[in-house]
């Protein structure tokens, strides 16, 4: 069995019952077609890895943060080469594929931990939300900036955040597009452990070692009981996203982002 691998955008290893998935695509782990392909390779490998492991940690070795979300530049430039119908079809296919990846991570019998720092925006936030626990260093910021583009989050963010938190918090993040620091995120229950700068991975490893002490079947049964996957809402989210994506406002929003010289292009 392969216990480690390295691709263009990520690497993973499995040692002593703990799988670590490291994101390492500069500048900020934006999720484009290559990252998606690499994530698909990882979840395929997870089929075998999970037999030997009890915990999965997802983290980033990029200084800017955990993940800045979807690769909007790729989305914009790829879309420009396509007709309207193909553009929508392509987006739907991408969403179906990333949802399939995140659903595997969400429902794996492993206990999963997102060890996050810095920018944890959009699709990056959604990747963290697929995990069972979020351990954040105090410099982390969470954000759903999608409304700025005329879109909603498309990688399962709303249904998963609704599953975990009160709807008022979801509306705050979604409808204002503001980012939330880790201290506030811990106060509202999103972050399970708040740690010092650069300490998220250390804390995640310590937590994973605790998880190793438990019977894996019991942990998996407990997880199935408390963490149902909101499949119907996830499918609905894709439909809403694709409906919105066909509107001219989205093209204008993407162009504004890609061509912007604004000092705050990541801010709505």
């Amino acid at each position: 069995m392969t216990t480690s691998a390295k691709t263009e955008t990520l690497s993973w290893s499995c040692e002593q019952g703990i799988i670590e998935l490291e994101l390492h695509r500069a500048p900020a782990n934006e999720i484009g077609s290559q990252t998606l392909e690499d994530l698909e390779g990882f979840v395929k490998a997870l089929d075998e890895l999970k037999i030997e492991a009890a915990a999965l940690i997802i983290h980033s070795s990029i200084a800017a943060g955990f993940c800045a979300g979807a690769d909007l530049r790729e989305l914009y430039h790829t879309g420009k080469t396509m007709g309207e119908h193909d553009r929508i079809t392509g987006v739907r296919e991408f969403l179906n594929r990333i949802h399939a990846v995140l659903n595997v991570i969400d429902e794996t019998p492993l206990t999963t931990i997102a060890a996050v720092h810095g920018t944890t925006f959009g699709g990056g936030f959604e990747l963290a939300l697929a995990c069972d626990l979020i351990i954040a260093d105090k410099m982390t910021r969470f954000c759903f900036p999608e409304l700025r583009l005329g879109l909603i989050p498309g990688f399962g963010g709303i249904p998963r955040l609704k599953r975990d938190l009160g709807n008022a918090v979801v509306r705050d993040l979604l409808l204002t597009g503001r980012s939330m620091n880790a201290t506030k995120a811990a106060q509202v229950g999103l972050v399970s452990q708040l740690v010092g700068e650069g300490k998220a991975l250390v804390a995640a490893r310590s937590t994973a070692r605790q998880i190793l002490k438990f019977d894996r079947g019991t942990s998996a049964a407990a997880k199935r009981f408390v963490k149902p996957i909101p499949h119907a809402e996830l499918r609905e989210e894709i439909d809403i996203f694709c409906d919105l994506f066909s509107r001219p406002a989205v093209d204008a929003g993407l162009r504004k982002f890609v061509e912007s010289e604004d000092p705050y292009p990541y801010l709505p």
Binding site: A28, A64, G65, A68, G118, T119, K138, M139, T140, R141, C143, T176, G177, R178, S179, M180, N181, A182, T183, K184, D262, P263, Y264, P265, Y266, L267, P268
Partner: protein, 80 residues
Amino acid sequence: MADTQQIIDEIQKLAAEHFKVAPDHVAPDDDFFQKLGIDSLQALELLTRLENHFNIELPDYEMQGVVDFRTLADRISQRM
């Protein structure tokens, strides 16, 4: 409530520490993007530092158009 000059001093001190420049490298009316050579994601790091230091929330839309320490201090003082 702290006065604006005190807030400016604290912001400059935090920014200098975070971006590893000498404290006297920055002045209240400096464009901190240019002076510190930072991008938008690094500006968010400064925002997080400020929120943690002043124990406030400063939504990032309050930062739109803000490029100098004096205006930033004004936005912070409105939240304290």
